[in-house]
Amino acid sequence: MEDFSFQHNVRARAGGTRQTAIVGVVASGNLEVLVERVLPDAECALDIKTAALGFGEVWRAVIGDFVERYSPGGLRFSINDGGARPDTVSLRLAQAVRLIAENGQ
């Protein structure tokens, strides 16, 4: 297993009122993303545990794109990865942001 952590300053707070959301499942080629609204509005953080070793730069690029595109301010993402491809990672991150952007608990 390999761990990565990323912190970003972002331009805007993520929408919605939900406090937590989870998408995906830990399986070969798949991942789960737990997202929690626990940070100041101008920050976001991502903690990754992955079964695929040696992809630090790919993660950095995928997450840089994601943060730029969605500005997920106030959110902490915790990721358990079973070796997903970058497009799957991007999809799950987007799903997680959309889910927590809903209103509710």
């Binding site: 297993m1 937590t20 989870i22 499942v25 830990v26 399986a27 798949n30 789960e32 737990l34 929690e36 545990k49 992955t50 079964a51 915790s78 358990n80 990865d81 079973g82 799903q95 959309r98 889910l99 809903e102």
Partner: protein, 312 residues
Amino acid sequence: MTAPFRDITPAERARSTSFYEASARTRLELLLDAGSFVEFIGPEQREISPHLNIFDLPEQFDDGIVVGHGRLDGAPVFVAAQEGRFMGGAFGEVHGAKLTGLLRAAREIGRIPVLILFDTGGVRLQEANAGELAIAEIMRAVMEARAAGVKVIGLIGGRSGCYGGGGLIAGCCSALAVSEPGRIAVSGPEVIETNRGVEEFDSRDRALVWRTMGGKHRRLLGAADVFAHDNVQDFREAALALLDLVGPFGLERLKAEQERLADRLRRYGACLDAVDIWTAEGIAHAETVPELPADQFIALADRIGRTSRDAR
């Protein structure tokens, strides 16, 4: 997530969602009354397996099982759903303990039923001793809950089926609903082939696997009382129907089960294949059963299939 579905009712969405393909969380969301599910020890608590890191394997925040409570047609129910894609839905220490705790509470309350959405290969190898014992504790907790008047309903239709100790827990339930892909067995096809050879069981012969362990055969044998279409709404309706049917547990049921199983051995103990059993049950052209569409199969099973009602 909800935006594209805003125009359709929850029931329509549940009807159009394959139980087999859906995640454990989606199954629960669509099975229960809309918005009623509340989870116990959710993923944000990060109660992961303490053992997978020994094997350098990834963890899942809910350890592959979602437990909580919700409402079914307005009535309270406890629910547990296994995620068959994480480690094959296998039972580990934390995974199993969540279900044990749920059943113990149900026993103390005594009137709120428990729905278990099985999706499991059995014991999780990497924590085999803890998983095996967790299954033993769950079996005990199911029986104690049933003895206290709790109905425990199993729903089986996930991609990992219901194998190993999962099959034994299913056998302890008050009633089961199964869909065609919902296999129920103790030893999996690969396990039999590895131990006894390909002559005993060819695990690559998928037709053989389905007709030996699959939902249709289990329904005809009377191992499951309801055959569900592979969608979440049908499993919801099956659960409601079974909750209505199930009576109180007692010694008489165990005696009836002894007789039911003895009768099965007498009638079918010499059969070499499921088709022989179906033929012996009086089904004409039994070899066509695997191809029957669900509606036709349900009509056939209601006419000819056996039942474990009051005998389990």
